[in-house]
Symmetry: C2
Subunit: 204 residues, 2 copies
DNA sequence: AAAATACTTGACTGATTAGTCTACATAAGC
DNA sequence: GCTTATGTAGACTAATCAGTCAAGTATTTT
């Protein structure tokens, strides 16, 4: 087998960067190629459309983050602490991205998903699939917390979906208003949504 | 003064419809004109750019809904009930839109705001402004609920922003997954976020 | 070294884009 | 009924868009 190329990865990286910072619609194939150092021909050698590339880019991003998510939501970590660590991680990553591009970028799954949902079933399905995988982390943390009596959550899946939605709303608002404040405070909101019982808290 | 025209309204209506159902980026000036029954010349007679039209369309939508919001959040309604009524209202409206276009559309402020936020300061500012106005309804309902001892919310503005973000996340997820379920159940999530105390509830 | 596979190049197409411009129509004030 | 302000008509431009294609290059297997 002949030469190998990292172009596919460069293209998905470039696409995700541009779409995350700007949007799906304003990210042209030409711009993706330019940032990836590719020519049109290479692009369409690897992907048969912009839509297909986008799905691949989202999947690639997921794969890059999966090990990290596994660590953050490790069953060895106390369940409620998993959320705190995850929220901190996302917060820190957004701060880092802000340094590079000047804006709070939110979550690309929501931005891109919301933008294309009524028009591109392929990308929408991809977003859905990844969304569901991520919710699984929430779900099992909630189930563990429930089992330990930390919260009352008879339906962990529903609770996980609700919390996930709330969190993404907060990320979206942060993007729109270019303001991290809500994200910083989300841990408290999460406790409310989760129904953390403060019974044994040492507050006066 | 010569003839009057309802074209401006027809253009903003058409723009909002198309952008809500699809997206800002995929809604072309030509498409807006076609739906409004206008020609290019009329469009650029009333608006100097697509961006400016969009801001006007969002403001027009706000004006159309304001009286309704005032009624839903009337101080004569018990504060927590205001939220229930509002959530019901939005739910019903989305169901109605779904019948017309086949999709759950979420909130245009979030979809459009998230899409253009890093690229169009004019539209972003408009979204921000309307967003803030809407949060005011939440805020005063929360303040009233707190005063009546229904919830504990020492910082009504922060609580309102948090709840608003959670709600919009839920609307966005409903759009992406084309599923009303989360919206139907949001009232319960809202009670958690608000910290409604069930102390006097008549449950077993 | 030949052949086959894997990838790159970049000019090209035809459609669509936002926005411009000039000529024209309509209605109210005089 | 003439003028004037308000609005309409639609052809036009120049840029950009996603996507195509035929010719070429590099690398590995045989």
């Amino acid at each position: 087998m002949p030469r190998v190329s990292d172009m596919k990865k460069r293209l998905t990286d470039a696409a995700l960067d541009l779409m995350w910072e700007n949007s799906y619609g304003t990210t042209s194939v030409d711009a993706i190629c330019e940032r990836a150092g590719a020519k049109k021909g290479s692009f369409y050698y690897f992907f048969k459309s912009k839509s297909e590339l986008t799905a691949a880019a989202l999947e690639a991003e997921w794969n890059k983050n999966k090990a990290n998510m596994d660590a953050l939501f490790s069953p060895t970590v106390p369940p409620l602490e998993r959320f705190d660590r995850y929220f901190d991680y996302v917060h820190d990553r957004l701060v880092e991205l802000q340094k590079a591009c000047g804006s709070i970028l939110g979550c690309p799954l929501l931005s891109i998903g919301s933008e294309v949902s009524t028009q591109d079933q392929g990308v929408r399905d991809t977003v859905d699939r990844i969304w569901d995988r991520k919710i699984k982390y929430f779900e099992s943390a909630i189930r563990d917390a429930h089992a330990q009596g930390l919260i009352k959550a008879p339906d962990p899946e529903a609770k996980a979906r609700a919390l996930f939605a709330c969190y993404h709303g907060t990320l979206a608002q942060a993007r729109i208003q270019n303001d991290l404040e809500l994200i910083r405070d989300f841990k408290l909101v999460a406790r409310d949504v989760l129904g953390v019982e403060y019974v044994h808290a040492a507050s006066s």
